[in-house]
């Protein structure tokens, strides 16, 4: 094992680290702070580029055996994560200008996401999860525009802490049962029908359900999503979810599950899909609605675990790509209102098409895609997941999941209905949209719509 290999294997992570160091340096030296957004953008862009290149050359290996390894699939996942992060940073620049604290925290959290998706042992996994989550508790609070932000951040912190505790408890039980902290040991323990291991599996799963906001562990999400500023909400809805799902895949990998575990893995996500879609219908706040929508989407993502082992990573990564892209597009094309509260109200979006036709069309595309209506990428992503679920033989769960996704069509259409068919509101939520990020999203959206096969091939076998 030579040094250059170890450096190359973690090069995307190193780039983020370099970005963080430069940003801190700028902050300390009090120079060039107005460029902090650009620095962050550059760091993420370089990291994304490297990840794409490493994925294309099919780089693989484990620089730290038992702790950290990469292969083509994880590199593709990292590339997707970083590409989405690039859009988010661009969007944040419109929103935050050059608040270097924001970018430092964002890049740190991003570092955690990357670490998690390469972890081989519980130690690295836990480190990654914590690095990923900790900055977000602060991000919810940073530049807060509402009083509820503090409450929401606290709620998120407490539940996140509970999730970490459960994860640790599960990991220690596995260690007690197998004497190993490797993730492989966990899978073997999960397949063995022994009480200790079962408890461990359930604890770890609940920890992830909590972090991904799967019903009934979802209560923090609507509050946190609503109170945080728009880029942070977008970050939580896309990249945190991506990190959690990549971690789950890392742990459960390609293992096949026995009966009780499969039911746990199918029923809670199914309830999540149904409840998320139903609850979203009644929301009056855009971000709250997206929160419930993301609860439903967490359900689809966990459904991917029902598919045959080798197909899971591809399905999840492609779904994350399509879903993340659409979420960022939706948030980027949300006009900034007179204040945060009014910007968020669905009511203020009435007749948006008459005022800002392009924003309305972009938002409509994002929402239709999230609803899974073809030809938009969200449809292909959903199709891939349900195709795998049926291929694994869980036809009934697939049909129920699809019917659950049908319930979601209504609330997405309701927003489109408000934007295109509503009458002018008294206090319209006018204002500029994050045009740069929106256009940046639109191009890959079109490419994903026209050439879905190309991207599916990119993210997996």
């Amino acid at each position: 094992m030579n040094w250059s290999f170890m450096i190359v294997a973690m090069l995307p992570e190193h780039m983020l680290l370099a970005g963080i160091v430069v940003l801190i340096g700028l902050d300390v030296a009090q120079v060039g702070k107005e460029h902090s957004g650009l620095v962050a953008l550059l760091a993420v862009a370089v990291a994304a580029l490297i990840a794409v290149m490493l994925a294309i050359v099919q780089f693989q290996g484990s620089p730290f055996p038992g702790h950290f390894s990469v292969d083509q699939g994880t590199m593709a996942a990292k590339a997707v994560v970083l590409a989405l992060a690039l859009l988010l940073v661009q969007m944040s620049r419109d929103e935050f200008g050059s608040d270097e604290r924001f970018y430092i925290l964002l890049l740190s959290s991003l570092y955690g996401v990357l670490l998690v998706s390469s972890a081989d042992g519980f130690l690295t996994m836990f480190l990654g999860l914590e690095i990923m989550s900790m900055p977000v508790y602060v991000l919810v609070l940073i530049a807060y525009q509402r009083h509820e932000a503090a409450e929401a951040a606290l709620k998120y912190l407490v539940l996140g802490g509970a999730a970490s505790a459960m994860f640790l408890m599960g990991a220690s039980l596995v260690y007690g049962a197998t004497g190993s902290l490797a993730l492989d040991a966990f899978v073997q323990a999960a397949q063995a029908h022994d009480t200790l291991a079962s408890v461990a599996v359930v604890l770890v799963l609940i920890a992830f359900f909590l972090k991904a906001a799967v019903v009934p562990f979802h209560a923090w999400a609507p509050d946190a999503y609503e109170a945080a500023s728009v880029p942070v909400t977008a970050y939580m809805a896309t990249l945190i979810k991506a990190g959690v799902l990549l971690a789950v895949l890392r742990i459960f990998g390609t293992a096949t599950f026995g009966s009780p575990l499969v039911d746990l893995l199918a029923i809670l996500p199914l309830i999540s899909i149904v409840w998320g879609n139903l609850a979203a219908m009644r929301q009056t706040s855009f971000r709250r609605m997206i929160a419930y929508s993301s609860i439903a989407h967490a359900g689809y993502l966990f459904y991917a675990l029902l598919g045959p082992g080798p197909t899971r990573l591809q399905a999840v990564v492609f779904y994350l790509l399509a879903y993340g892209l659409m979420n960022v597009l939706a948030f980027a094309s949300l006009p900034s209102g007179p204040d945060d509260l009014r910007r968020d109200r669905l009511d203020g979006m009435r007749a948006l098409f008459q005022r800002q036709p392009y924003a309305a069309v972009l938002l409509a595309i994002a929402l239709l895609s999230l609803a899974g209506i073809p030809p938009f990428p969200g449809f292909v992503a959903k199709f891939l997941i349900f195709k795998n679920v049926i291929a694994a033989g869980y036809t009934v769960y697939a049909v129920l999941g699809l019917v659950g996704s049908y319930l979601g069509i209504y609330f997405y259409l309701r927003v489109i209905q408000l934007m295109f068919m509503g009458s002018q509101p008294e206090t319209p939520s006018d204002g500029r949209i994050a045009l740069g990020a929106g256009v940046l999203c639109l191009l890959p959206t079109i490419l994903l719509t026209v050439f879905p096969g190309f991207f599916i091939g990119l993210v997996g076998r």
Binding site: F353, Q354, P357, L368, I373, P374, P375, F379, V380, F383, F386, K387, I390, A391, T395, A398, V399, L402, V403, S405, Y406, I409, Y410, L413, I416, Q417, F420, M421, P452, G453, I456, G457
Partner: protein, 526 residues
């Protein structure tokens, strides 16, 4: 080679048109761009139709490119006897819809015509797709423009109507999606081939109980769109609230997507289940015919009369498809086109009178023949075509369907089973009921004491006359010379019969009271 490029050009012309609309500054420019693009599309399609070789089994103007290679999804389009008439109908109605909306649509003009382009694109795509994935994409994408067309430019209860429309149709589609995935998966299991190609899927035969489930899922989706009673309740709302252009597209083409789905996919993919269910399909068709006609009889809203008459007329299509008799199947195809022409025409005429008088209440009108003579002539012609007067397209379709139904019912009657015959006879009462509601409507509308709300009114202008002359010409063309159209669809009808019937009733058509090839025009046999 260049032929397949032509079909692609026709399919993507609406998309090109949409792009052209973006820089257009004035509403007038938007209208001109849309109209001429649509006209060009029709001209190209007419050329394509003339090039289409009758008597050739299989696809013509075919394009097949890998799309999502790892799933076996292809971008596969082509023309065959099933879709050639429907493509022609869609392209034919395009410029008429656009011209008909010139004066009616004044709000968000650019978006409106963009959506008309989009729906034209998705409808054509649905018809020409030869790959199940591609078909589904077009099928479902159609919802978006229709949702907006009804929801933005519709009547008072437009939001209710459009949400109902979308939720109804999407529910059917989502189950069809599950069935599609399962079907392709079982093809993969059975043969090792991963393919969404229609041709590949026809060849694969599933156990009959699985066929039943899958057919149920497909049929639900198609039956909602046709619509077949009792899944029809979205239709009157959508029709009444939609702007004229929306109604015309809906009645003219969109409903045919349902019947096309049955003939192209539903029945041939699951032939054993389809045969087992054929009596039930017939029953549903007869119920639709009679129930739709009865409801049309008691409506007071002129748009609703035509909406319910659509349900009745599409019942004939389903009857012809379920009869599995060659004449019936051909009749069903003709009836689809015929209904597309007459219903589109009637909705356009209702739109024209609504623009002048601002009410759809039948009781508010009377004696229009004295005030609007030209309008009344056209209205009467289309009414008679809808009733199925000989020499009009309606006659060809209905007559062939009923003949086919009798042909199919006769052998089982001689074998001692009278249910199919009873159903066929009941379907004939639909013709009588059809004449009743349409003539009753025309009588109160055109004759009697003169009642014109918001009068005085002017008669049809040149634009409106041109639209209607074109439509009426098409109605007579299909009524007087159905041979031409029948020839192009004959191979497809035979193929459909072969796929679904698979020698189940070898003597069925042979022992029928009227033998096959002699009946073509059938003038005056009613």
């Amino acid at each position: 080679m260049s032929d397949s490029a032509l079909l692609n050009l026709i399919l993507y012309l609406p998309v090109i048109g949409m792009v052209l609309l973006v820089p257009a500054r004035s509403d007038g420019a938007v209208r001109q761009i849309t109209f001429w693009t649509m006209l060009l599309q029709f001209a190209l399609t007419a050329w394509l139709y003339l090039q289409f070789q009758p008597g050739v089994a299989g696809l013509q103007f075919e394009t097949r490119l890998p799309w999502i290679a790892s799933w076996g999804v292809h971008y596969h389009i082509g023309l065959d006897g099933f879709n050639v008439l429907l493509v022609l109908l869609t392209a034919f109605l395009g410029p008429l819809v656009v011209a008909g909306a010139f004066s009616a649509i004044t709000k968000d003009v650019k978006l409106f015509y963009a959506m008309v382009f989009l729906i034209q694109f998705t409808m054509l795509g649905t018809f020409v797709a030869q790959d199940l994935f591609l078909f589904y994409v077009f099928w479902e994408a159609m919802l978006i423009p229709m949702f907006l067309i009804i929801g933005i430019w519709g009547g008072e209860r437009r939001i209710y109507a459009t949400v109902k429309f979308v939720l109804y149709t999407a529910f059917g589609s989502i189950l069809m999606l599950a069935a599609i995935i399962y079907l392709v998966y079982s093809l993969q299991q059975g043969t090792g081939v991963t393919s969404f190609s229609f041709a590949e899927l026809y060849r694969h035969r599933l156990p009959v109980d699985i066929q039943g489930w899958l057919l149920a899922a497909f049929a639900l989706s198609f039956a909602i769109k046709v619509p077949i009673v009792p899944l029809h309740t979205w239709l009157p709302d959508a029709h009444v609230e939609a702007p004229t252009a929306g109604s015309v597209i809906l009645a003219g083409v969109l409903l045919k997507m349902g019947t096309y789905g049955f003939i192209k996919l539903g029945f041939p993919l699951f032939p054993d289940a389809a045969r087992a269910a054929s009596n039930w399909v017939m029953l549903a068709a007869v119920v639709s015919i009679v129930y739709g006609a009865c409801l049309a009889l008691v409506q007071t809203d002129i748009k609703k009369i035509i909406a319910y008459s659509s349900i009745s007329h599409l019942g004939y299509v389903m009857l012809g498809l379920a009869s599995l008799d060659l004449i019936g199947i051909q009749g069903a195809i003709i009836q689809m086109v015929s209904h597309g022409l007459t219903a589109a025409g009637l909705f356009l005429m209702v739109g024209m009178i609504y623009e002048r008088c601002h009410t759809r209440d039948l009781a508010a009108y009377g004696g229009l023949a004295k005030v609007l003579p030209v309008y009344s002539v056209f209205f009467m012609v289309l009414t008679l075509a809808a009733i199925g007067l000989p020499t009009t397209s309606g006659f060809t379709g209905e007559f062939l369907v009923l003949l086919g139904a009798f042909n199919a019912a006769w052998p089982s009657y001689t074998a001692g089973q009278s249910v199919p015959l009873v159903m066929a006879v009941t379907a004939v009462t639909g013709v009588v009921l059809g004449a009743m509601y349409m003539l009753y409507f025309a009588q109160r509308f055109l004759y009697g004491a003169v009642k014109v709300p918001h009068g005085p009114v002017t008669d049809l202008n040149f634009r409106e006359r041109a639209i209607l002359v074109t439509l009426v010409a098409a109605v007579f063309w299909l009524g007087l010379f159905p041979n031409e159209a029948l020839r192009k669809t004959e191979v497809a009808a035979l193929q459909y019969q072969k796929w679904v019937d698979v020698a189940a009733r070898p003597a069925a058509t042979a022992s029928a009271p009227i033998s096959l090839p002699t009946v073509r025009n059938g003038e005056g046999t009613r």
